[in-house]
């Protein structure tokens, strides 16, 4: 079955996989800063897969990944890794080499999405709305005097400016600079997480997450901070301090517009299987802006994608089953 799936280069036959039970390797943990979230996602996925009748091999990703994958010889690899080491396409590349169909996006889409700057350029080039931005490497500041251009950047983006690492998945390292005085420390903080830093116009408004499953957008989740302190990012990631509303109260027209935009982004960036596109709905203008696309969004108890699926009447087990069915490898060239 694996060999045929490999040649076909598209999703597995659902019945085929289910009938066979099929071995699924769940890739989790790893070295990224989001290791803990990944372990929680992975554990939950493993339980679901077992309930679905699969043989499950959990792999905490490390030096022996290739050896363990060869040993397990799974029919599918479920990539439940978050953060740089799981979403940047490297693990996916290895799975391609090994010919193991894997969940979620392929190598190139991972590379596009895990680098927010690359993704934003692609969106801007395609005419999809994303907040204005500038991005620099540390080298640009140290060796090309990019610091001297900060004034011009600040003038164009206007304060407050959001400063973020280009390839960090969670809110780690994200700072709001209210004035020019805040910018240097914010940049120093962001470079703690990434080689590249993004300065982005701050869009004030509502935070929306549109999950895509297959090629269908799911109901939209809105993250509503319970406390007024808008800038407290710790609050956003603390259970009970952010309320999630799904489906978000947006009205039909806006909902359709947000879902279409998310799907456009999903397709533009070449995503596959599932992903979560984060949007801002600007207060006053009602314009939508795309912040980023997450190729492997969290699958923990409090993660947004499972909530969205549930709102669409798709249980967690069904969700995981669907994701496995959508697993694939690229056709081998020639």
């Amino acid at each position: 079955m694996t060999a045929r799936a490999r040649d076909r280069g598209d999703g597995l036959e659902p019945d085929e996989l289910r009938r066979a039970g099929g071995t699924v390797a769940v890739l989790k943990g790893g070295r990224s800063l989001e290791r803990q979230v990944s372990l929680r996602s992975g554990a939950r996925v493993e339980d679901a897969l077992e309930r679905l009748g699969h043989e499950v091999v959990g792999i905490d990703v490390g030096h022996d990944l290739v050896a363990r994958l060869r040993e397990a010889a799974p029919d599918v690899a479920f990539v439940a890794l978050h953060g740089r080491d799981g979403e940047d396409g490297i693990v996916q590349e290895l799975l391609e080499v090994l010919g193991i169909p894997y969940t979620a996006s392929g190598v190139s889409a991972c590379m596009r999405c895990s680098d927010k700057v690359v993704a934003k350029h692609a969106m801007r080039d395609a005419g999809l709305p994303t907040p204005d931005f500038y991005a620099f490497t540390e080298t640009a500041f140290k060796e090309l005097g990019a610091g001297d251009a900060l004034g011009a950047i600040e003038e164009r983006l206007r304060f407050p400016i959001v400063v973020k690492p280009a390839d960090q998945g969670s809110a780690l390292g994200i700072r709001f600079a209210a004035s020019a005085a805040d910018v240097p420390a914010a940049i120093v903080a962001a470079f703690s997480y990434s080689e590249k830093v993004l300065l982005e116009r701050h869009v004030h408004g509502r935070e929306l997450a549109v999950s895509i499953l297959g090629d269908e957008p799911l109901p939209i989740v809105e993250a509503v901070p319970r406390e007024e302190d808008f800038y407290d990012f710790a609050a956003r990631y603390t259970i009970g301090r952010t309320a999630f509303v799904c489906p978000a109260e947006l009205g039909d027209e806006l909902t359709a517009r947000a879902q279409k935009l998310a799907l456009d982004v999903f397709r533009l960036l070449g995503c596959r299987g599932f992903a979560r596109v984060d949007l801002m709905l600007e207060e006053g203008t009602n314009e939508l802006y795309v912040l980023e696309s997450n190729v492997i969004p969290g699958l923990t108890e409090t993660s947004l994608l499972p909530q969205a699926a549930e709102a669409a009447g798709i249980s967690f087990d069904e969700l995981i089953g669907r994701i496995v069915e959508l697993a694939a490898v690229e056709p081998v060239p020639g």
């Binding site: 070295r31 800063l33 989001e34 290791r35 803990q36 979230v37 540390e138 500041f141 140290k142 610091g147 900060l150 969670s170 809110a171 780690l172 390292g173 910018v183 240097p184 420390a185 940049i187 120093v188 903080a189 470079f191 703690s192 997480y193 989740v221 710790a234 990631y237 603390t238 259970i239 009970g240 301090r241 309320a243 999630f244 509303v245 799904c246 489906p247 109260e249 108890e301 409090t302 909530q307 549930e310 709102a311």
Partner: protein, 450 residues
């Protein structure tokens, strides 16, 4: 009506106190520090590898042979009498004289903090603590929804003058703190020790105002230089001091045994609180401690630890002087396990930890020691849990990331990056580097500056 639905299924079930329990990015970062390739200066760990395995084996065999049934049975809530005697001996070594009957044996010192809160604190009550305070006390205080007021420290420990001002202010607001939490000796995380005049004044203030002090003293016997100072309890006599002791740092944290000595009515409530929490502390651990103290060598082992940790402290102080830039400052502890380093305020040590982890080194970001978001530019460094080579290499890596951030900030603000006194290169063979003091080339700094 819209179909508004709060999707956090369990949120409605959580007690309100959980809303202040922090599950932060920092916690996830700290979990990564446990990776084997990471040199972690983050733990508060004593070096248990120094305890002879054969001694442990012999003592446990002895307990099994002579007292098996008791070791496997429940113990009294207040603890076994033999352990009370061992505790009295430890306290006597620090100049305190207690009746073993007045001791409550607990499951680690941490349980004392929990029981004191349980006994004294209603939601919204004020606890006064040091700034910074023991990071492990923060979740305990938070869980009881205390309003924690933190008092600044300097090299002589808690600023008791600031404490008095704060107490005045609280009194004007009609609020009476339930207790003052302090680690007067080799404070965790700051590494400083409260001076004798401040100790005397603190005890006096507590007496005048009839306030309780929780004196947390895990490290008192781990003094590497200078003369021991009297504990708050010995100065006070015990009327307003709840004393917290532990075997964790002088024997083993794995046995989970600590104790408290408190004014009788408070102790009685704490005893009831402990019954509700865990009935009693481990009988097996208690009999192990009793057997260990019966051997009579417990002070020798502490002397071994003192020698080891003194050397490691000196190694860390030397490494800090070598590797941290001139903008950094750090404490010089006369004992205990920790050094507290403070960097320029534009460096956030939580972010720095992420960068440090990419170079396989870890520390505790200062924010963990505050309840009010302060401490963002400080870090706690432990020198007891890792060997000298690891301390040197760990500090070298920290110095490297700090210097990078200082230089970047300098570039961004147009300030010239400070002269880089080039730190020594990473030793390729740590064992060799330990022996050989290789001379450094003088022109290094200049070359780099160009």
């Amino acid at each position: 009506m819209s179909q508004r639905r709060d999707l956090e299924r369990y949120a409605g079930l959580f007690a309100s106190r959980t809303s202040v329990m922090k599950s932060s990015a920092m916690r996830d970062l700290m979990a990564i520090t446990e990776r084997p390739e990471v040199i972690s200066l983050a733990g508060g760990l004593p070096d248990t590898s120094t305890f002879p395995a054969e001694t442990l084996a012999a003592l446990l065999s002895k307990v099994a042979a002579s007292d098996s049934a008791r070791a496997l049975q429940y113990a009294p809530t207040e603890g076994m009498a033999v352990v009370g005697e061992a505790i009295a001996a430890v306290m006597a070594a620090e100049g305190m004289h207690v009746d073993p009957e007045d001791v409550l044996v607990t499951t680690g010192g941490q349980q004392v903090i929990d029981l004191v809160c349980k006994t004294l604190v209603d939601p919204g009550d004020v606890i006064v603590a040091e700034a910074p305070t023991y990071p492990g006390a923060v979740p305990a205080f938070s869980a009881y929804q205390a309003d924690v007021v933190q008092i600044a420290m300097d090299d002589d420990g808690m600023r008791v003058d600031e404490l008095e001002e704060t107490l005045e202010r609280l009194e004007r607001e009609g609020r009476r703190p339930k207790f003052i939490y302090t680690i007067p000796t080799f404070q965790n995380p700051a590494g400083v020790t409260m001076s004798l005049p401040r100790r005397q004044r603190l005890v006096q203030v507590a007496r005048e105002r009839e306030l309780l002090i929780l004196e947390d003293n895990p490290y008192g016997l781990l003094r590497y230089e200078g003369e021991a100072l009297p504990t708050l309890r010995s100065l006070d006599g015990g009327d307003f001091v709840i004393y917290l002791g532990t075997f964790s740092k002088i024997l083993s944290p794995g046995i989970r045994l600590g104790w408290t000595v408190a004014p009788a009515p408070v102790l009685e409530k704490m005893n009831l609180g402990k019954q509700a929490s865990d009935l009693c502390s481990s009988s097996l651990s208690q009999l192990f401690v009793a057997a260990y103290f019966a051997e009579g060598h417990w002070q020798d082992y502490i002397a071994t630890l003192r020698d080891l940790y003194r050397r490691r402290r000196d190694t860390m102080l030397d490494a800090l002087a070598e590797h941290l830039p001139p903008e950094a400052a750090w404490t010089h502890p006369a004992g205990g396990l920790f050094i507290w380093a403070t960097l320029p305020d534009y460096i956030d040590t939580t972010d720095l930890l992420a960068l440090g982890l990419s170079r396989n080194v870890a520390f505790v970001p200062g924010r963990a020691a505050y309840l009010d978001g302060r401490g963002g530019s400080s870090m706690r460094l432990n020198f007891s849990g890792v060997d000298d080579d690891a301390i040197r290499e760990g500090v070298r890596r920290i110095g490297e990331v700090v210097r990078e951030q200082v230089a970047l900030y300098g570039t961004l603000t147009g300030k010239l990056a400070p002269p880089l006194a080039e730190p020594a290169p990473a030793p390729t063979d740590p064992a060799l580097a330990d022996v050989l003091q290789l001379p450094r080339r003088d022109d290094r700094g200049e070359r780099r500056a160009r």
